[in-house]
Amino acid sequence: MLSPWLILSLLPLSTLGALEKTRGVPPDLLQKYAPAKSGSWKCLDGSKEIPWDFVNDDSCDCLDGSDEPGTGACPDTYFYCKNEGHIGSLIPSSRVNDGLCEVQCCDGSDEPEGVCPNLCKEVGEMYRRKMAEELKLRKTGSKIRSSYITYAQKEKKRLEGVIENTATEIALREKEYARLKDIADRTESLSAAALAHKQQSPLYLSLLDHSGALKSLQREHQKLVEREKQLSNILDTLRTGYNPNYQDMAVLEAVRGWEYIAGLPHINDVGKDNANDETVSDEEAGIVEDVQEEELEEGMWTKEELEKELGDLLSTDYVSLLMEHDEHVSSPPEESMIFDIASYLPESFLPQYEDFKDTLVSWLAAFGIIKGEEGASADASRARQALQDAENVLNKAKRDRENAEKDLEKLFDPKMFGAEGEWKKLDGTCLEYPSGDYVYELCFFGESKQKPTKGGQTFTLGRFSSWNSSPDVQVGSPEYYSKQLYNRGTKCWNGPERSVQLVMTCGTENAITSVQELEKCEYQFTATTPALCLPVDSNGNGKAGSREEL
């Protein structure tokens, strides 16, 4: 673009003299710009009558500014550039006669004659070429979009299939559950009374208490670990990014205190950017070292053991343990009842019993519950376990059906995957965009994350919450789908919860094109997606080609 000064120096002042009276008048108002028979003219708002000579005389007379369509003498009015060979356009009066050739006025009519060249032929051609390209892009995009719609249709069928299939499976599973329940009940009845008695053992009861206490401890411990992690993150962030508040001695003290506790060298002594991957020298890591060197008492668990094995310990089957315990304290083990029971049965029942036993044993073995001969009580608890598993399988099938039903509902919900289901295809599709020291990730309808490339913490920037929620945007309109909101991300230290506004335009690819943190912890992603490429009508218009787009 030419510099304004260059143009100003060329400005011939005489050209401001006699202007065409209709200069700058848009076509729809042209008939209003003619003198009355008296030779006067009425301001468009009717407020004043002025001599026709005052129209476009570069001196503002009307309150509404309508007497100066072509000069810019009246503020906050508009000037119409005809742009023959291209598309006419309205520009604010503040751009008229300001020495700059407006891009919107390719005919150069916004400045006195001779200042700006008429570029409408070239601009028009370029515009048409650009529009053709855009049309092409939109066509390609809309093809992809229709494949998304097809996908949604298939998805619909698939879900309907799932619903159908799960119905069959549920029927089957229910039968199996009933059968196992029968077995379990029968097995249990063999030992229920005995088991109840054994369960009154103070040892068993105490064991349950211990277990309960241990579980609570584990929960509290995990909470604290999580909390420590959060606090460490806050302090690490403070330590590496404290500049604005370093003037505050309290902050400095906090940083020093943290460095002491965490065994980190003072940030002044290391390159700040290396703060994340610095190595801690032995001397500096004093406190951490102390903790590690602390000797464990006999039988005490290490930190790793606590983390990895406590869970296993807590999932111990106490009933089985009780049975085993029983066998340990009582004298020589008897044969397992299930194998021994035959001796009490009359001969005639034996074949049926053997059949039943084989079925039960093989079933139990198949589930890996028994290994040959074991106690009856163990059988009972294992049968119950099998029943539980069967119930789980049944419930899963039920859940599958419910989910499929829900998914089917969402599929064509305008507030979710669109009236045509065109967004379903993108459900769970993840896009990445590297920017600065981070890779930004966004999974459609899922979560958005900021992942550091040089080590450090990954932050959740938010989870999908809605489409464009602006009150003046209609649900289901193209504008509605041009924006997605992801919010309730990790809270910023001293700031809001992180959030993402995803602004999308039609494109042949699903891709993030820019990431900006416009406000602290409020991100704006721009992206392209074919899902926004509406079908092109016979006139070649996707959306109405507006003048503002020039």
Partner: protein, 996 residues
């Protein structure tokens, strides 16, 4: 335990209410030399209270008096009765313009006191008068000139400036002069058992001695050597290898009840007292350039800049004192006789005594006298008077483009987009962060395409890394400040571990200029990724050092020439500003006017660019005190000043933001800025009605740019500030001496009182003591003032600004809204002729190309517009004339201290009214005239242009009150004559005659 400790640490991090961290900064009682200086004045006061005599130990040895035979200067030896072996030398000079310079230094001392402060502040060595002569008597030596007389008494030493026999300024009248001489450090006595080291509540350690020896100097100096050889503050120790060298001086204004100046402090313009029985503040005003985080809106604490200039004012006299000292200085102010006199006590850490007495007798004279010493505000680039949009930070080049787009979409004018520190990779200034600013040159060109500019920050701390060529070069050339042990001084700032450019090294200038060159240099770094449209912001130049004492540099670190930082601390920031300004000026050939904003400043900084009042808070009281601070800076020469609109910290509510824009458009420097933690608040983001109100406010600034630029021309020549407090314009109007919330814009006759109260719907404005009419700028309703002044109540809803045109003024505006000020260069003018009580009015307009130095060789247009009324009542003719001031006052048009060396000297004779610039705007018209306060409806209105015949003009008439109406009521609509397009141009002579 650990967790408890950590938990309490975390609690300590919780953001508390915005507040200054006062524990980071010294009070007088925590500063050794200030404590000693104040103790001295306390002893003197006690002596007086006890009716014991208190006589200054300093006296002139009359036998040593040596009066220059060729000019108005003399030298004499000074002795102190406390230390008979120590020699001091005194010198007095009377300059051609009557300014008196008093210098005193230790002679043949153990070390040398810093004596270069004035050389940085002054534009040249002032001419000593050849006409005035000193006459020696037995008790004194005197020089009398005009109404003025300087009397230097021998014993005790006392310097008095009198006018018509009345004492105006007295030095050492109270006997507080004390120049601590250099001495050798005595071997410290070992701390004997039985003595104990105690720490008082402020962490000061004193050795309690069991048997104090009798000290004959104790009556004056005190019993103990208080912090002579080292001084602790928080975790820092100042080693003070030179020992005590402070300077105490009382400066008395026996007949002036008001003092102003010594910026910068967040306080009232008329300086409140700091000592005496009813003192407003407990601590003295401090001059010690400092980055005070979240500073208080009402305090004597030092801030970013220091100008040791004090005006003393009364209804019949204005005088001033410029104390050219570069070290930390504390100033106590009291009124020995209430409403009559003012006593100031200046306590400085080091340096010689070098005081200039400015005899006045009017504020205008003071500005001229001070301008001859330290220079004037350089005529700024015209665009820099437009609106500056800043934020920490516009995060990418796309962001900058998007912000510009939004301004254009809303048709809101803006001239400059700013980039704070985040543009720079790892805060290595000059080096763009290419991840976010991949195309800095293209970005700047996109901004420049609509006549706009960019301002980019360059701070004085250089990141200490081999990957930073600017640091590498500075380090290799030893251009960096050294620590007390002679190594590179290292401290912590935005860029992490950093070192500081030592601008006191004369070799640094050329090197720094080179860094801004736009072309590639062989083997040296230059900023090729910049353009001529990039201008500069110097921040953190106090210098601010996050881990240094009082967030600044260790005082025992060493500058060029071996001077300690303590000697030059307050000058340091100015030098960086100076060099950057020079660099931008020399970047192109021919040179372009640089715009460089500074946070730190000293006397003389006005020559190098604009300043702002630093990191203010988004609160109503900060908004209000910002006005007072701008006025205080203005009268001390630093008139291209402003406060951050919206407040740096915090999220101002829309109402506050609107009011702040109303304040901002009436600041010489007008910038909106915001901290990185704040929500975005660009004007286009506001909801209605706020957005439209702010848009109108911004447009008003642009309409008035001709007034602002004309005011800047005046200050660039005369030193009279662009915004003027009441006492400057009405020095005899006693009721206005304390006013600091309303002010005048240049000599235009525009009076404004920005509203700074939440929820205000009405404002009270003081009209000066004169028989004159004041017109509301917007509604044209009239308010008559009286010869004793008058308080009026005016409407002040959120979209209203109490803004007045003084009768007797002609205001020139450009009414067409544009995107930026360069795009207004060819727009027509509107004249508002505000007739005064006697039917007169006048106004001025100065124009030039706004960016080059062509004005220095005569490329400008300077015109005067005069309205006169001839004849009486119904037969009167009001003539409005356009005259060429080049023809009558051409030699006064521009500052004679030129940047370029034009071939021709300017004079009225050589001025060419058809110069190239005048030709370039010869088609620029006057599109409208509005005449306020005419006596009756005219019968005809005609324009006569020289060389053309008379033309009858088109006009409208609105009935209203006449300016001359003696029964005018407050708020009555003035009569208005609106003349449509008189078909006259701005560069030509013409007369418009209104026949009543």
């Amino acid at each position: 335990m650990r967790w408890v400790a950590l938990a309490s640490l975390v609690l300590a991090l919780a953001p508390d209410a915005l507040a200054v961290k006062s524990q980071d900064f010294k009070t007088c009682s925590q500063s050794g030399f200030c404590r000693r200086g104040r103790a001295l004045s306390t002893r003197a006061a006690e002596a007086k209270a006890n009716k014991t005599t208190w006589v200054s130990p300093y006296s002139i040895d009359s036998s040593s008096l040596s009066i220059s035979p060729s000019d108005a200067s003399f030298t004499a030896a000074v002795k102190s009765s406390l230390y008979p072996d120590i020699k001091f030398g005194l010198e007095l000079r009377v300059h051609e313009d009557g300014v008196v310079r008093v210098r005193m230094n230790e002679v043949d001392g153990l070390r040398k006191r810093y004596d270069e402060a004035a050389s940085w502040a002054l534009i040249r060595e002032p001419e000593i008068s050849k006409d005035i002569t000193w006459k020696a008597g037995k008790k004194d030596v005197k020089a009398k000139y005009g109404e003025n007389e300087v009397v230097v008494a021998f014993e005790p030493l006392k310097v008095t400036l009198l006018r018509n026999g009345k004492e105006q300024i007295v030095l050492n009248g109270e006997g507080l002069l004390h120049m601590e001489h250099f001495r050798a450090k005595e071997e410290p006595k070992k701390v004997e058992e039985g003595e104990e080291v105690v720490t008082d509540s402020e962490g000061q350690q004193e050795v309690m001695q069991q048997e104090p020896t009798v000290n004959p100097r104790a009556w004056f100096e005190g019993e103990t050597e208080d912090d002579y050889w080292d001084e602790k503050f928080n975790s820092w120790t100042d080693t003070k290898p030179k020992g005590p060298e402070s300077l105490s001086l009382d400066i008395d204004f026996p007949n002036h009840a008001h003092v102003y100046g010594i910026p910068q402090h967040a306080t009232r313009l008329a300086l409140p007292t700091t000592s005496g029985p009813e003192a407003t503040y407990t601590d003295p005003f401090r001059l010690h350039n400092a980055d005070v985080f979240e500073y208080l809106a009402d305090s004597t604490m030092s801030l970013y800049g220091s100008i040791p200039l004090m005006h003393a004012h009364s209804a019949d006299s204005t005088v001033a004192v410029f104390n050219a000292i570069g070290s930390e200085t504390w100033i106590d102010i009291s009124h020995p006789v209430k409403d009559k006199s003012t006593l100031s006590h200046w306590i400085s850490e080091s340096g010689i005594l070098d005081v200039f007495l400015l005899p006045g007798p009017t504020p205008s004279d003071i500005f001229a006298q001070y301008a001859r010493l330290t220079g004037t505000t350089a005529l700024p680039a015209h665009w820099s008077l437009g609106y500056h949009q800043c934020r920490w930070n516009y995060v990418s080049s796309e962001d900058v483009r998007a912000v510009q787009k939004r301004f254009d979409e809303e048709d809101i004018p803006v001239d400059v987009f700013w980039l704070d520190i985040e543009y720079a990779e790892e805060h290595k200034y000059f080096i763009w962060d290419k991840k976010t600013f991949p195309d800095p040159v293209e970005m700047t060109e996109d901004v420049a395409a609509s006549g706009r500019k960019m301002v980019v920050i360059i701070d004085p701390h250089l990141k200490r890394t081999s990957s930073y060529p600017v640091y590498q070069e500075a380090s290799e050339k030893e251009f960096l400040v050294k620590n007390k042990d002679g190594g590179e001084y290292e401290g912590w700032c935005w860029s992490g571990s950093s070192s500081w450019v030592d601008c006191f090294n004369p070799a640094v200038a050329d090197w720094w200029v080179e860094k801004f060159k736009l072309e590639k240099l062989d083997g040296r770094y230059s900023w090729v990724e910049s353009t001529k449209d990039v201008h500069i912001w110097n921040d953190m130049n106090e210098p601010a050092i996050f881990n240094g004492p009082e967030i600044s540099m260790h005082k025992d670190s060493i500058h060029y020439g071996g001077w300690e930082h303590r000697d030059v601390h307050n000058i340091n920031g100015m030098l960086f500003h100076n060099l950057t300004s020079l660099a931008v000026l020399r970047r192109t050939s021919p040179p372009q006017r640089p715009f460089v904003l500074t946070r730190s400043f000293y006397a003389g900084s006005q020559r190098f660019g604009a300043m702002w009042t630093g990191d203010n808070l988004g609160t109503w009281d900060h908004m209000a005190v910002g006005i007072k601070m701008v006025l205080a800076n203005s009268i001390a020469g630093m008139t291209f000043a402003g406060s951050d609109v919206g407040g740096f910290f915090g999220n101002p509510e829309p109402e506050m933001l609107v009011r702040w824009y109303q304040v901002g458009i009436f600041s010489p420097f007008f910038r909106a800025h915001a901290h990185i933690d704040t929500k975005r608040r660009e004007p286009y983001l506001l909801d209605e009605p706020y957005k439209s109100i702010v848009k109108d406010i911004l447009r008003l600034r642009y309409k008035l740019l001709p007034v602002w630029y004309t005011a800047f021309r005046e200050t660039s020549v005369t030193g009279k500030p662009v915004v003027r407090p009441h006492y400057v314009e009405f020095p005899k109007d006693v009721k206005g001496f304390d006013l600091d919330d309303q002010f005048f814009v240049g000599s235009s006759g525009l009076l404004v009182k920005p509203v700074t109260d939440k929820g205000a719907t009405e404002a009270s404005v003081y009209l000066p003591a004169e028989d004159q009419v004041y017109y509301d700028y917007f509604s044209h309703v009239a308010y008559p003032s009286t010869s004793s002044g008058k308080q009026i109540a005016v409407p002040a809803a959120l979209d209203q600004i109490p803004f007045f045109i003084r009768g007797d003024s002609i205001i020139l505006t450009r009414e067409r809204p544009r995107r930026s000020s360069p795009l207004m260069a060819k727009d027509p003018f509107t004249l508002t002729v505000a007739l005064g009580k006697t039917g007169q009015a006048k106004g001025e307009l100065y124009l030039d190309d706004g960016t080059s130095y062509a004005h220095e060789s005569g490329d400008w247009v300077w015109r005067e517009f005069v309205a006169t009324t001839e004849g009486k009542k119904k037969k009167a003719v009001v003539k409005i004339e356009s005259k060429d001031l080049g023809k009558t006052r051409g030699s006064e048009a521009v500052d004679p201290t030129k940047v370029t060396s034009p071939s021709k000297e300017l004079s009225t004779e050589t001025y060419d009214s058809k110069n190239a610039f005048a030709k370039s705007i010869e088609g620029v018209r006057v599109e409208k005239l509005v005449v306020l306060g005419l006596g009756s409806k005219p019968s005809s209105v005609k324009a006569a242009v020289s060389g053309e015949g008379d033309k009858e003009l088109v006009w409208e008439w609105k009935e209203g009150v006449a300016a001359s109406d003696k029964k005018m009521k407050d708020g009555s609509a003035a009569s208005e004559l609106i003349i449509k397009d008189p078909k006259v141009t701005i560069t030509k002579d013409w007369v418009i005659s209104v026949q009543l």
